[in-house]
Amino acid sequence: MKEVDRRSFLRDSALAVAGGTLALGGAADLLARGAVSLEPLSADVSRGLCALAVATLRKAGASYGDVRLIRYRDQSMGTRDERVTYAHDSESYGIGIRALAGGAWGFAATNLVTESEVVRAAREAVAVARASALAKTDDVRLAGEPIHKDVFHTPVEIDPFSVPLDEKLALLLRVNEIMKKTPTISVAEGFMGFSRKHQFFASTEGADLELVVVRSSAGFSATAVADGDSQERSYEAGLLNAGWEHVAKHDLAGNAARIAAEAAEKVKAPNGPEGAYDLILDPVHLCLTIHESAGHPSELDRALGWEANYAGTSFLTPDQLGKLRYGSKHVNIVADNERPGSLASTGYDDEGVKCRKEDIVRDGMFVGFSTTREFAPKIGRARSVGSCRADSWSSIPILRIANVGLEPGDAKLTDLIADTKKGIIIEGSGSWSIDQKRYNFQFGGDAFWEIENGKKTRMLKNVLYQGITPEFWASCDAVCDASHWRPIGVGSCGKGQPSQSGQMTHGSANARFRNVSVVKAKA
C-alpha cells in the first residue's frame, strides 16, 4: 500500500455535506462567507490504515487491540458587547491505538497518519502494554460484544457548517445589542460552537465502524452591575448531537431582552435566605445535580477505586446493587445512550460497543452502573452499557458517565408551585462542588425566585443549598411530566489522568425536593 499523506487526502476527498451535496457554485459562495469546507476522510484509505494497525497489533502479540482514526473539525466564535472576540476554525487529525498484551493495557497515538507511523504506534502500544504487565494483579478480561460492521451518523437537519459564519456572528452581535439596551447591563457576551467528528474504528475482533458525530451549541449572558455588586444571567442552547436547527429553535434574539431584564432584577434582588426550603429545580439546573450526584457515583471504575487519585471514588459499591435506597419512589434514573441527539448516543462507543439503555435507579433503588467491556464482568454483567469514550484520538478511551437522566413523572410545574408554601425556584447552573465520594454537595444556580404560599414572587440572588446525596434524592416528592422534560448537555467533564474532557447529556423535568438546607456561604 502506498504511503498516504495529507496531500493525498485533500486531493482524494470530495466536497460533501451530511445529507446532501453542494453544487460547486454554492460551495464557493459559502466558502467566501466563511463556511467550513467539509472534506470527509476517504473511507477506503482510512479503513486501509486501520487494517494495517490491526494487523501490526496481531503480529506484535496483542491479545486484543483497537484503533480509532479520527478527524475533528470545529468552528467556534465569541462576542463581547459590540466586538467579535474570536472566530476560529480548527482541525485535528490522528490515530489512537489500544493494545492488550500480557493481560494489561497499552496505548499510543500519533498525528502523523502515514503507514510507517501507524505501524510504529501499534508496536509502541504493545510495548507499553508489556511494561504495564510488570505490575498487574489480574489479567484484563473483556465482556463479549457482537462484532459490528456499521456506518452511523448522528441526526442533523441543517449542517451547521453550511450556515455562513457572517450570519452566525451577526446573530450573536444582535443578541448583545438587545441586551445592552437594558440599564445596568455592563457586559453582554455570546458564543457558538460546532463540531464534526469523523471516526473510523477497527478491532482485532473484526469490528469495522464509521461514525459521524455533529454537535451544536450556542448561548449568551448578561452581567448587571449595580450598588457594588455584579450578577450574571445566562441562556443556552446547550450542547447536543444536532445541527443548526437546534440553535435556530432556541430563538436567541427573542430571549435576549428577557435575560437582560432578569440580570438587572437579580443584581438588585435580596440575598438568598437560610433555612429549610422546598426547592423546585429546572432541567438546566438539574443537569449538573444529576451529573455530580448520580452520574459520577454510578461510574463503576470510580466505585472500584480506579479514579482514587484524581476524580475520586463513590459511595455506591457493587454490593449495594438492588439493596441501597438511593432516593424516593419518584426517582427513576436511566443511562440512555440510545436517545437520538444526546451526547453519548453515538451509535457505538469508543471500543465498538453498541450504545444501550440501562437503569441506574428504579423506583428509588440503586440497580446499575455505567460500564465498559473491562468493567462489566466485575459485577457479573454479560455486556457493557457502552460507556467507553475518549475525548480525542490522542486519548485512551475510559469509562465515562452515560446519558444519565431523570425519568419524567406526572406532575405539572404550575401545580407544583401552587402546592408549595415556602420554596425557591432555581433555574440554570451556578456554583457547584461535591466531595470525592459524592456525598456532601453545595450547589448554586443562575436565577432564583421565592415561592410564598403557592405563588412565585420576587427574585433572589446568591442562593446556595447543601445536602448529602441519598438524603437529597429521598426528599424528591414530585417530578414533572414528559412535556417538561429537556435534554441538557455537559460539555466538559474532567476525569482521568491525563485528564480528559467528556460530554454527556442529562435529561430531566422540573422536580421538587422538600426541606432542603439553604445556606449562606460564610456567617
Binding site: R6, R7, A32, G34, R83, Y86, A87, H88, D89, S90, E91, S92, Y93, G94, W105, G106, F107, A108, A109, T110, N111, L112, E124, A131, S132, L134, T137, L165, S186, T223, V225, G228, S230, L304, G305, W306, A308, N309, G312, F315, S394, S395, I396, I398, S431, S433, I434, D435, Q436, K437, N440, Q442, N462, L464, Q466, Q497, P498, V519, A521, K522
Partner: protein, 438 residues
C-alpha cells in the same frame, strides 16, 4: 521534536502563504506519557505525540484564526486560507492592535534530557516501587508517573519570533487504608527534582495518622494548611484580577485599587525564570516575559492588562499571573516550621489536601471546596487522629489576613491550581461549614 529551525521554517511558510495585511503563527509539538496505577496495579499506560499550528490574520482590523495539526505544505496553505476566509467576513475588531516587532528575549531553556527520555519501563518501575512500598504498610496505592517534552514557537509578520522547548515530570499518589488515605503530588521540569519513594513514605504516615476518623462539629478552627493546600488558595487571589473586568465592575478589586487589603509583609509575585517553576520566554503577542509583583505592602501592585486595556490605561501590558511565589515576611507573623506550628497549637486542624474548589461569589471573593484525604486533629500540640472530611467556604483575602505563622516557601503542586512556591501557613480561623460521611 519541533526544532527551532523547523519552527522558523513553518512560521515563514505561513507568512509566505498569507495575503493578509498581518499574520502570525503559533506552532507547537508535544510528547506526553503517563503510567497510571490503582488498586496496586498499572491500569493505564499511554504515550502520545501531537503538534499544531494556529494562525491569526488581519485585513485591516478584520481578524480571523484557524488551526490544524499537520505541518506539510498543503496543510499550511489550507490553514492560512481558512483563517483568511474568516477574517474577510468578520466585522472589524475595534481592539485589534498591530503585531509586535523582533525583540531580545530572556534566556530560558528548561530541557532535561533524562526527563525527555524516561520511558515506559522506567515509569513502570517507579510505579511498581511505590506500590510495593505501600503494600509493606498494608496500604493500597493509586497514582501516576508522568513525563513529557514540548516545543513551541510564535512568529509574526511584524518581525517577532520566539522559540522555547521544555520537559516536565509529575508524580502523584493516593495511599488508602481501611478508612483513611494520604495524598501527595509533585511536578517539575526535571524528574530528578523529586523522589516518589520518599514522597510516598511521608504520605503513608499521614494516611496512618488519619485512621479511624472522628467527627468534629463544623465551624471556624485554628487551621494549619500544608503547602499543597496553600498553593490553590493563594492562586484564588488571581481570579478576577483583570483590569478589563475591574473596569466592567465585575471583580472583587472594584473600588479597592491602590488600597491595602492584606497585611503588610505578604508578597505574591511571578518569577517565570525560577528553576523550580514553569515559565516562558515571552507572553502575549511578543512581550519579553518578566518577573512581576502582584501583591506587596498589602496592596495589589499590578493586575492583568491585555494589550488593548493597557493602552487605554497608558500602562504596560502584563502576563497572566503564573509561575507564582508566595512569601510572608512580617514582624507580626511568626516564622515557624510545620512541626513547630503543630506543637504550638492547642486545638486545631491540619489540612493536607483540598478539592473541588469553585467560586461562590466572585465579588467578595468567596469560594467553596472540600477537604480530602488526611484531615488531622491537633490537640495540645500533637496530632491525635483523623477527622471526617468537611466542606469549607472561604474568602482567600480573609484566610491570608489571619495568618499567625508561616514557614519557608517550597515547591507545592495541587490538582486544583498547579505548581507554586508557597510556605505552610497557620491561620487563626478557617471556615468549615458542613461535614460528610467519611
Amino acid at each position: 521534536m519541533l526544532t527551532e529551525k523547523e519552527a522558523r521554517r513553518i512560521v515563514e511558510r505561513i507568512l509566505h502563504h498569507s495575503r493578509a495585511d498581518e499574520a502570525s503563527a503559533s506552532a507547537w509539538w508535544g510528547r506526553s506519557a503517563t503510567t497510571r496505577f490503582a488498586n496496586d496495579a498499572i491500569t493505564q499506560n499511554v504515550d502520545t505525540v501531537d503538534q499544531g499550528i494556529s494562525v491569526s490574520v488581519a485585513f485591516g482590523k478584520k481578524v480571523g484564526s484557524a488551526s490544524i495539526n499537520t505541518f506539510d505544505e498543503a496543510s499550511l496553505r489550507e490553514v492560512v486560507r481558512r483563517a483568511e476566509a474568516i477574517a474577510k467576513i468578520s466585522p472589524p475588531d475595534p481592539e485589534h492592535l498591530p503585531g509586535l516587532p523582533a525583540v531580545k528575549l530572556p534566556s530560558l531553556d528548561p530541557w532535561h534530557e533524562p526527563t525527555a527520555s524516561f520511558g515506559a519501563s522506567d515509569r513502570a518501575r517507579a510505579a511498581v516501587a511505590v506500590i510495593a512500598e505501600a503494600k509493606r504498610r498494608k496500604l493500597s496505592a493509586a497514582g501516576i508517573v508522568e513525563n513529557g517534552s514540548s516545543a513551541g514557537a510564535f512568529g509574526s509578520s511584524a518581525g517577532f519570533f520566539g522559540y522555547q522547548r521544555g520537559t516536565s515530570a509529575a508524580f502523584s499518589a493516593t495511599l488508602t487504608g481501611a478508612d483513611s488515605s494520604g495524598w501527595v503530588s509533585a511536578n517539575s521540569r526535571r524528574i530528578s527534582d523529586f523522589d516518589p519513594i520518599e514522597l510516598t513514605k511521608k504520605t503513608m504516615l499521614r494516611a496512618e495518622l488519619a485512621a479511624s476518623p472522628k467527627e468534629w462539629v463544623p465551624g471556624k478552627y485554628v487551621t494549619i494548611l500544608e503547602p499543597c493546600v496553600v498553593s490553590p488558595i493563594v492562586q484564588l487571589l488571581t481570579w478576577g484580577i483583570s483590569a478589563r473586568e475591574i473596569d466592567a465592575g465585575r471583580s472583587f478589586l472594584v473600588g479597592k485599587e491602590g488600597k491595602e487589603i492584606l497585611p503588610k509583609g505578604i508578597v505574591l509575585r511571578s518569577d517565570p525564570f525560577h528553576s523550580r517553576l514553569f515559565g516562558s520566554r515571552w507572553f502575549g503577542e511578543g512581550f519579553p516575559q518578566r518577573k512581576i509583583d502582584w501583591i506587596r505592602d498589602g496592596k495589589f501592585q499590578n493586575v492583568f492588562y491585555d494589550r488593548f486595556t493597557a493602552k487605554k490605561h497608558g500602562v504596560a501590558a502584563t502576563p497572566w499571573a503564573g509561575s507564582l511565589i508566595f512569601e510572608v515576611d512580617s514582624p507580626s507573623i511568626q516564622k515557624r516550621t510545620l512541626d513547630q506550628m503543630i506543637a504550638e497549637t492547642e486545638k486545631g486542624i491540619l489540612v493536607t489536601h483540598v478539592w473541588y474548589i469553585r467560586s461562590v461569589d466572585p465579588m467578595k471573593p468567596m469560594f467553596t471546596g472540600m477537604t480530602r484525604d488526611a484531615l488531622l486533629a491537633i490537640e495540645d500540640g500533637k496530632i491525635t487522629g483523623g477527622l471526617k472530611q468537611m466542606r469549607w467556604n472561604e474568602n482567600p483575602v480573609d484566610v491570608l489576613s489571619s495568618i499567625v505563622a508561616a514557614g519557608t516557601p517550597e515547591a507545592a503542586d495541587s490538582d486544583e491550581g498547579g505548581l507554586a512556591l508557597v510556605p505552610p501557613l497557620k491561620v487563626r480561623e478557617f471556615n468549615f461549614t458542613s461535614g460528610t460521611k467519611f
